[in-house]
Amino acid sequence: MRVVIAEDLALLREGLVALLRENDIEVVAQVDDAPGLLRAIAGHEPDLAIVDVRLPPTFSDEGLLAAIEARRRQPALGVLVLSQHVETAYASELIGEDTAGIGYLLKERIGDVRAFLDALRRVAAGGTVIDRQVVTELLAPRGGPSGALARLTTREREVLELMAEGRSNTAIAESMVVTPGAVEKHITNIFAKLELPACEDDHRRVLAVLAYLNVAH
């Protein structure tokens, strides 16, 4: 897997490069701004770009816009956007029409290196990874109840959040310390409550969840 990293904080960028190299992932370029990202992608044709939402010079959302532009130029490119804030509007923009090869994670998820590396591989392979916090935000409108989402139990919400991250049933079971059978039961309940068509494939499950969340958004 060939990766480009766009991150302006050197400490974090170098840490990421070291982490990826230790795990046999090739970092073909590391840049610290949005134009650099677009140049690196054109020059190296990587499988995946890891992009910080805020990049110089204005430190607002250049990273996000550059990631969207990179995807427009190379639709096969996997893009994992890292953000220090959960902003559902940014997640929605990034997801856009095509959810394949898209990831949106809070920066601190990097700390859980195994899950992070797993997320990288899934996005590079065309999967979708959405931070569970985005799902929580969308699931928990402030104030009054909001239809179907309000009917989910706490456990079911947890499962849904992990599903949005693109985890398999086994991974969800491990994370929640329950049996895979219990997870399956939760998933069946979620699909029933959200009136989503049940399906087996991991990626399609995420799509189903996102489709629902996009409607909700």
Partner: protein, 368 residues
Amino acid sequence: MSEQARPSAEIAQRPGAGVRRWMPTLAAGLSIGEYARSLVRRLALLTGILLGAIWALGAQGYFWPAWAWLGLVVPVLLDYTAGWAWRHPPGAVRRVACVWALVSVAAVILLLTWLLTWRLAGVESFWPAWALLGLATAGSAYSLIALHDRVLVAHGRRALRARVDMLTRTRREAVAAQAAELRRIERDLHDGAQARLVAVTLQLGRAELRACEQPELRELIRDAQREAQLAIAELRDLARGIVPPLLADRGLGAAVDSLAARYGLGTVVDVRTSGRLAPAVESAGYFVIAEALTNTAKHAGAKRSWVRLSDEHRALTVMVGDDGCGGADPDGSGIAGLRARVEALDGTLTVRSAARGGTVLEASIPCG
């Protein structure tokens, strides 16, 4: 006779018209006061001429009518100066003008008397000098005392206006500086402490991967990571409370769209603002809408709610309404806090909330 048609000609034909033509009449449209003054002036003139003629026709010699003329000049002069003084605005200025009218009449009497004693009686010394000096001093002293307050008040008003202008300007600048400073703090948190903590969790994660043979060490590293992640989450909440990232990045329209969506009330958002506004104005508008939507979600039980934003006439107007149960307290603590925030920017905030009639909150904030 074509002139017969004119009123003056008619008057002239009445009995005693000879006298009336020379004397002023009430019928000529004069008020009683003006009539009296005109009468006094003409009688004085007539008397003066008459006495002069008597002197000329008589023995002549000592020119005594001059003293009579002096006596006649005084009421006429008084009349003129009093008229002049009365044209001043009432109050201290008119009182001062009256005093100067009297002073000038007295001075004229003194000067004329001196002139006559010098010419007629051969008095050589300028005897009214001290009296004139006294009159001028008294008049000046009175003017100074009477107008002193007035000058002070005028000066005070000017100073007050300047101070209000200065306070308005500096308050606005202070609020703007505060908003800019808060955004800088938010950015510093984001790019500084938060980013470094993320780097720390990454390094800890790498360390954890290498410590797979030592379960105790792994547990220690995981504890450290959890703490670092809590710190990151706390910093994030802090930064969001200062200024939500979407507001800082994209401005009010995008931030309000996202905010409204998060409440899940099906709020209709109508944004008619062009470009970015001052940070202080954007933040105030945002937090007004956030508070209003929180209240709608918590208390209103509304079927419909809406948010309207516009920046016409150099002011940001924010309107948040619902069709819920109403009865919101316009002076409740939440709304009072918002009002203080809006008023610090010279804006206004009103709440209309009739029982069962829905609630509409409207804020208008000048854009500077």
